[in-house]
Symmetry: C2
DNA sequence: GAGAGATTGTACCGATCGGTACAGAGAGTC
DNA sequence: GACTCTCTGTACCGATCGGTACAATCTCTC
């Protein structure tokens, strides 16, 4: 018997790795039973909604991790430099310095996108808002804070894609380093602000 | 009967759209016959190697398009500002301002990655080299040129992912605009250069 | 118009897909 | 130990997967 509660987290972690490794559509029930060590009986007992529920819960768990370790600290921080360094360190840790792929981004590109559109959009939206609020407190205009936060998210996603495409984790490391500098740079002197 | 040569390009174009819309693994033969208007008989006559050959040829055709319209102009250009503007315009056109996904990046994230690793890496590698060579001619150090070229590729990929995830093509447009500025900025005054 | 070769639709293949049914094993209570 | 209720392995479902076989058809050449 499953030891309630505690173990579900374990299962979700294993599920996450399967989805990351093969993508939502290609993660077959066979692959899933192997990765989790659970037969179909257990799987469908745990997730009556099937694969879709599994993926939804995995996404929710990822969201929870980021909420706790990235978004909330960003919202509550008062020292921008320290907060950004912490975010970058957290991201680097989570993505294993570029070896791990972003399941949320992956889902966004795949054909299962529509089924999880809300979760995907919410994840990025809350990240952007949290980061922008910190940037705003660091003295940036609202527009610039939003733009820089958007730039941060897209840089991380792009670095993950390119690092995987070229099989070079250094790309991710360098991108995070550059990103830190860009986020902490003084406000741009644009046409409408300078 | 197929009108030799000319038509194959048409078929590849349709194939590309199916792969882009569903991903390599989820693009079923049924989907493919619908999109191309070709039955299995024709398909396997045209591509004896099956799905894998289809994808390989689609990737090669994409590569060819970029070689002609992006990489070569980059290598041959003498005016950096103009060349970068042309690249950005070409990219914007190819990706339909963020509405179209990058098949190469998509394959890189999927489980078919290994089968096409060479093509994927080559595509990005030649892009980076071509862009870096232009940047070098514009006065950047070798290292900076390489880094900025890397940044450009990753920005484009990330913008495509985020634009799709958030269903906001504006993200792509803004990213390209920012990217242009970053590429044309004067050399960074880093520890070892300044 | 006969023959050759290229091209195509259709039936079919075994494998696997996600999902269901259900008998029975395991644990908790009395 | 008998009664629950939770949990799980296995057999099975129809559908679909990528791919093959092949006869029929088309286009061209002579």
């Amino acid at each position: 018997m499953l030891k309630k509660g505690v173990e579900r987290g374990e299962v979700l972690r294993a599920l996450g790795e399967v989805f990351r490794a093969h993508g939502y559509e290609s993660a077959s029930l066979t692959l899933i039973t192997e990765a989790t060590g659970l037969g179909k009986g257990s799987l469908y007992h745990l997730f009556p909604g099937g694969k879709e529920q599994m993926a939804a819960e995995v996404l929710a768990e990822i969201d929870g991790w980021f909420e706790l370790n990235i978004f909330a600290p960003l919202r509550e921080a008062d020292d921008p430099a320290r907060a950004i360094a912490a975010m970058v360190a957290g991201v680097d840790q989570y993505f294993h310095s570029g070896d791990r792929v972003c399941l949320v981004g992956m889902v966004a590109l795949g054909s299962a996108r529509d089924a999880f559109a809300g979760a995907v959009d919410g994840y990025f939206a809350r990240w952007q808002v949290a980061l922008a609020s910190l940037l705003r407190r660091s003295g940036l205009s609202k527009g610039q804070a939003q733009r820089r936060a958007e730039d941060a998210l897209l840089t991380i996603q792009g670095a993950l894609v390119l690092a995987r495409a070229r099989n070079d984790a250094g790309i991710f490391r360098r991108a995070l380093s550059d990103l830190t500098k860009r986020l902490l740079a003084p406000p741009d002197r644009d046409l409408w602000t300078g």
